[in-house]
């Protein structure tokens, strides 16, 4: 008979629910897999013969990212100084420029922008490097040599991220405050003493601690997502070989950025 179908087939909502359910189940499964992956990698950080590799990764993820992080921090601080100066002028509160710049940087912009910059620079490299090791069977080769690939490849990167993220965030904050000083004081003529007095008096330890907690959370998120995407790039259904590495790198960067912002909101709401 024409024009008939089951009520379920005709109802768009009935079609939406199973799709949403499948997506949710897959998401929960993936999150579970990432959690187990992180747990195994974290436990392996404390095994022997890890120090050398951790130091090497701190150099690549941390030291090699410091220049770009400081550059971004400088201009972020300068823009903040500029924008806040003209906003505060309207309320006659230019003296609060130091407080506004430093609190914005330490509480929010420092951890978030640092994490995004490291994701772009080191996170994508992590995924691509591990992905290439995977598709060229070098990870299988490690296993065949009785070397745990998670211990050798993943744990040092997670450890190095946990070490590097807070340090780079601190750099970012410091350089950002200097950037605010350049625009607010040097270019726009705010009093230097007032600027630094406001910076010093408005920042509490709880702000600094909150910023560091965020950077630690972001370190775990970024390193886990990037390593996970590279490590399992061979299991992608939408591409194989080099294409899978490329797609995994894109996924790693996009997911890391999204989860950084989601986690930022979650952590902020806990801290406030």
């Amino acid at each position: 008979m024409e024009g008939t179908g089951s009520p379920r087939q005709n109802n768009p909502l009935a079609l939406l629910f199973p799709a949403t359910g499948r997506w949710a189940i897959r998401l929960v499964g993936d999150l579970g897999a990432i959690a187990i992956f992180f747990f195994l990698a974290f436990v392996n950080i404390f095994k022997r013969k890890q120090l050398h590799e951790i130091v090497r990764q701190v150099y690549y993820i941390g030291a090699r990212s410091s220049l770009i992080v400081m550059l971004v921090g400088l201009f972020t601080g300068m823009v903040l100084g500029l924008q806040l100066f003209y906003t505060l002028v309207k309320f006659g509160s230019v003296g609060a420029l130091g407080s506004a710049v430093s609190l914005s940087l330490i509480r929010e912009l420092g951890p978030v922008l640092t994490a995004i910059m490291i994701t772009a620079r080191a996170g994508s490299a992590m995924t691509a490097e591990i992905g290439i090791l995977r598709i060229s069977e070098q990870i299988d080769a490690l296993y065949s040599m009785r070397i745990d690939p998670v211990r050798y490849l993943i744990s040092p990167r997670i450890a190095a991220s946990i070490i590097s993220f807070p340090l780079l965030t601190a750099f970012f904050d410091l350089i950002g405050i200097i950037g605010g000083y350049i625009t607010g004081v040097v270019l726009l003529g705010t009093n230097a003493g007032t600027y630094f007095y406001r910076v010093q008096s408005s920042i509490d330890m709880i702000d600094v601690r909150g910023g560091f907690i965020k950077s630690l959370v972001f370190a775990v998120i970024v390193s886990c997502i990037c390593c996970f995407q590279g490590y399992f790039c061979h299991m992608r259904s939408d591409g194989y070989g080099a294409k899978a590495v490329g797609l995994s790198t894109i996924s790693a960067v996009v997911l890391s950025c999204v989860f950084i912002l989601v986690a930022d909101y979650a952590v902020t709401s806990f801290l406030m």
């Binding site: 070098q138 299988d140 080769a141 296993y143 065949s144 040599m145 009785r146 070397i147 050798y152």
Partner: protein, 417 residues
């Protein structure tokens, strides 16, 4: 009493989703042998190797190592078992961000408590053994395919494994490199005394170096045994696999295939009423020795030259020949007495010496850095063919009369004399 296998698969089944890749598989791998696994693509050869090293676990069945189930091993025993195995990947899987030295030393750095000096000493020894000293500071991408294979072998052997698994070591290689890799496997297996398990599609080349052959057929074992057993066993599956070898033999030497030879012999000479004199000669070149000196590919070339010359020489005077084993050619001379046959063989030997063996030097040059001198000996044995003689009986008698009829000393620009 049967020797205990080093590794044994007992009723091993492995499935990936709905597909059964290994189906109730029973395989035995013996110590100090080269075992070659052949089979069509997708029959589970690599899956079998990955089970040995523990990259995959069976869904059903047991894998035994020296009679002990691998899945029942404690962590320490498992680690010890794993330490006895090395795996050579098809694409070498060298760590491309490390130099040759770092690649070779890497397993020792990561899995042992040896001092830096001891690691360096062991790694350098293996690098020297595999003639890689000049490439020690190079990265894998700076090396030729053959050298990369040697680096992979050096890395695999640095921990003195008892078992080395080779996953298609010669696939996609040119004949010279293929020859070099097969020579390398036989040479170093003898030098270091490991058990080799090899997957290969290079029939018949791998038969020349294999002690034992396993034919996989849709996840099951179609045959396991020696090359000789494979060629004498009448199983359709083996015939199908070895047909390529038969074809190769015909193409290789231009001689009759064994089946064609049998028919020829039966129809022309095998009847009981024949009373004319018939003789037979067995020509032999020690392929194993030749192969050790020159490598499998030139050894095959020597055999090919011998076969072609035998065919053209004896066909012209009414004889017919077939390659009856790897390195043995049987020729039947109808209407010829033993004395006449001996004279024919002597004349053949003189011409062979002048016309064919002198060309072998060119083939010997393919063996790079050969340092040992050697002579090629062509042996022949002549016998009378009696009424109702089976071919095996003729070969047996002719072999008993074998003597050297031609020699050739290889002179590879001074390196092989």
């Amino acid at each position: 009493m049967e020797t205990m296998p080093l590794i044994e698969f007992q009723n091993v089944t492995k499935r990936f989703g709905d597909k059964t890749v290994l189906d109730n598989l029973n395989v035995k791998i013996y110590e100090n042998q080269i075992t070659t696994i052949i089979g069509k693509s997708g029959t589970g050869k690599s899956v079998l190797l990955k089970h040995i090293i523990g990259l995959l676990k069976p869904d059903e069945g047991t894998i035994l190592f020296q009679g002990k189930p691998v899945n029942a091993m404690k962590k320490g025993e498992w680690e010890k078992y794993r330490s006895t195995i090395a795996y050579l990947f098809q694409n070498n899987a060298l760590l491309d961000s490390m130099t040759v030295f770092e690649n070779v030393a890497f397993p020792l750095q990561q899995t042992t408590n040896l001092s830096k000096k001891e690691i360096e000493k062991k790694a350098l020894k293996r690098i020297e053994d595999l003639e890689l000293t000049e490439a020690i500071d190079k990265y894998p991408s700076e090396l030729s395919g053959g050298m990369q294979k040697r680096v992979a072998l050096a890395r695999a052997l640095v921990e003195d494994p008892k078992i080395v698994l080779f996953d298609e070591p010669t696939t996609g290689q040119d004949p010279i490199r293929k020859n070099m890799i097969l020579s390398m496997i036989t040479h170093y297996r003898r030098k270091f005394g490991f058990t080799a398990v090899m997957i290969s599609h290079d029939i018949p080349d791998v038969f020349f170096i294999s002690d034992r052959i396993i034919i996989l057929w849709e996840g099951r074992v179609g045959f396991q045994g020696s090359y000789e057993e494979a060629t004498t066993t009448k199983i359709p599956l083996i015939d199908e696999f070895l047909r390529s070898l038969d074809g190769f033999q015909d193409e290789l030497t231009g001689l009759l295939s064994r089946e064609a030879f049998r028919i020829h012999y039966a129809t022309m000479l095998g009847g009981p009423a024949k009373s004319v004199a018939i003789s037979a000669a067995v020509l032999n070149v020690r392929l194993n020795i030749l192969q050790d000196a020159l490598g499998p590919q030139p050894a095959v070339e020597v055999l090919k030259a011998l076969g072609e010359y035998t065919n053209s020489h004896f066909n012209a005077i009414g004889g017919f020949s077939a390659r009856y084993s790897r390195d043995q050619i049987l020729t039947i001379f109808p209407h010829t007495s033993v004395e006449e046959a001996k004279e024919l063989v002597a004349r053949f030997a003189r011409k062979l010496q002048q016309g064919v063996l002198d060309n072998i030097n060119g083939m010997a040059l393919a063996k790079i850095d050969a340092k040992e001198s050697f002579d090629i000996y062509i042996r022949a044995g002549v016998t009378e063919v009696l009424p109702n003689d089976k071919i095996e009986q003729i070969i047996e008698r002719a072999e008993a009369n074998q003597e050297i009829i031609a020699t050739h000393r290889c002179n590879c620009e001074g390196s092989v004399q």
